[in-house]
């Protein structure tokens, strides 16, 4: 059930814009920790815009339900403010208090306006409070939405950045894995590796796990999957960069790495790879 607007709020908003604005900005700046000229100007601009749009919305809104079309303008403005503040590094509380600090001067005006009609005052105060709660929550929601977008983008970038396949020698590829291996990353690593095997015709792939912080059964299973897939394509896999602690956990967990060649360092693995393809590296006099 949505309540209808009574018109008191709209009237106050239109007639007392300046008083409201001063009260609001003073309240906001006193709460804000960061104070500088730019911020003050920004806050003022946003506040002026907010009040004028809010008074329009309340006038034509007809109800306090901010999900309706009539409130789309104010929603647009709030998400804009939220995004801007997110970029500047504000906390969600800061962003929400932008809206909430308007309540105080507004209620003061409401009290004066309706002092002869206590019932109407209580009703109007409750409704207005409700409206501002919704608007504040909306800014928090937008703030979180913006943050989620950032996280999603970073995840994507991480996925692309962290799975290079490099060619060490003719017929020898290396995959230096860095970070935790989950199913999604294993899939990307596997696809990249297999494609590179086709492209280069390599017969040996070294999977280096120096940068993998922990190896549990799941990670080990993912590693074994990668090795198995490479083998099906006709390439041998060597796992290198196994740290002592990881060797201990692997054995304690009972993971079977018997069928895979494992080496402690990439250099050792490379040596094995060279022997397998029948190449040698000879030392010469330094130039």
């Amino acid at each position: 059930m949505t309540k209808k607007t009574t018109g008191h709020l709209a009237k106050i908003l239109t007639t007392n814009q300046d008083v409201l604005l001063e009260g609001w900005i003073a309240g906001m700046l006193s709460r804000s920790v960061r104070r500088d000229k730019n911020l003050e100007k920004e806050v003022r601009d946003a506040a002026v815009k907010f009040i004028s749009i809010l008074s329009q919305c309340v006038e034509k809104g007809g109800s306090y339900d901010i999900d309706t079309v009539q409130w789309s303008e104010i929603r647009g403005l709030l998400s804009e403010i939220s995004q801007a503040r997110l970029r500047q590094g504000f906390s969600p509380t800061d962003t929400a208090s932008f809206v909430y600090s308007l309540k105080e001067p507004l209620f003061k005006l409401l009290r004066e306006e309706l002092k002869d009609d206590p019932n109407a005052l209580i009703e109007e105060t409750a409704n207005t409070g409700d409206l501002f709660d919704k608007l504040g929550l909306y800014t928090i929601e937008e703030h979180i939405k913006g943050r989620e977008q950032v996280i999603l983008r970073q995840q994507q970038e991480l996925l692309e950045l962290s799975t290079p396949v490099v060619q060490l020698w003719k017929d020898v590829l290396a995959v230096p894995l860095i970070g935790t291996l989950d199913s999604a990353r294993t899939q990307v690593v596997m696809e990249n590796l297999l494609q590179k095997i086709i492209d280069t015709g390599a017969s040996i792939a070294i999977v280096d796990i120096t940068g993998v912080p922990t190896v549990d059964t799941l990670v080990a299973q993912h590693l074994l999957k990668t090795v198995a897939a490479a083998r099906l394509m006709g390439a041998d896999c060597i796992i290198s960069g196994i740290r002592p602690q990881i060797a201990q956990t692997i054995v304690h967990l009972g993971v079977n790495l018997e069928d895979v060649i494992t080496k402690a360092t990439l250099a050792d693995a490379f040596k094995v790879a060279l022997t397998k393809i029948g190449s040698t590296v000879a030392e010469t006099q330094p130039a």
Binding site: E191, L194, I198, S203, K225, A229, A230, M233, G234
Partner: protein, 117 residues
Amino acid sequence: MQRIPILKMGDLLLVSIQVDMHDRLALTLQDDLTNRVVKDRARGVLIDISALDMVDSFIGRMISSTAAMTKVLDARTVVVGMRPAVAITLVELGIELEGVKTALNVEQGIKLLRKIA
């Protein structure tokens, strides 16, 4: 009835699967191949699956068992040219073709067979 041709190259047999494998075709191939290994006294078998977009669990098992059969008949089987997508699917299905040799292409497959057979 549709059959997959088996080509003889010296003491090797080359099977290139160019059509979609259905189960009957796979069984016919297994039958033909074991017969030819005996008849031609082959030492090695190359199965080229580079044209296959999809290998299901049945075909995967068929390849495994064919390799085991030819081994009993003293011929090594090498599967060549598996596509990345096929390899990933097989691994996800848990079919790792244990005991089957693999190579990237026919050329490397022949090299491998010369070494092991």
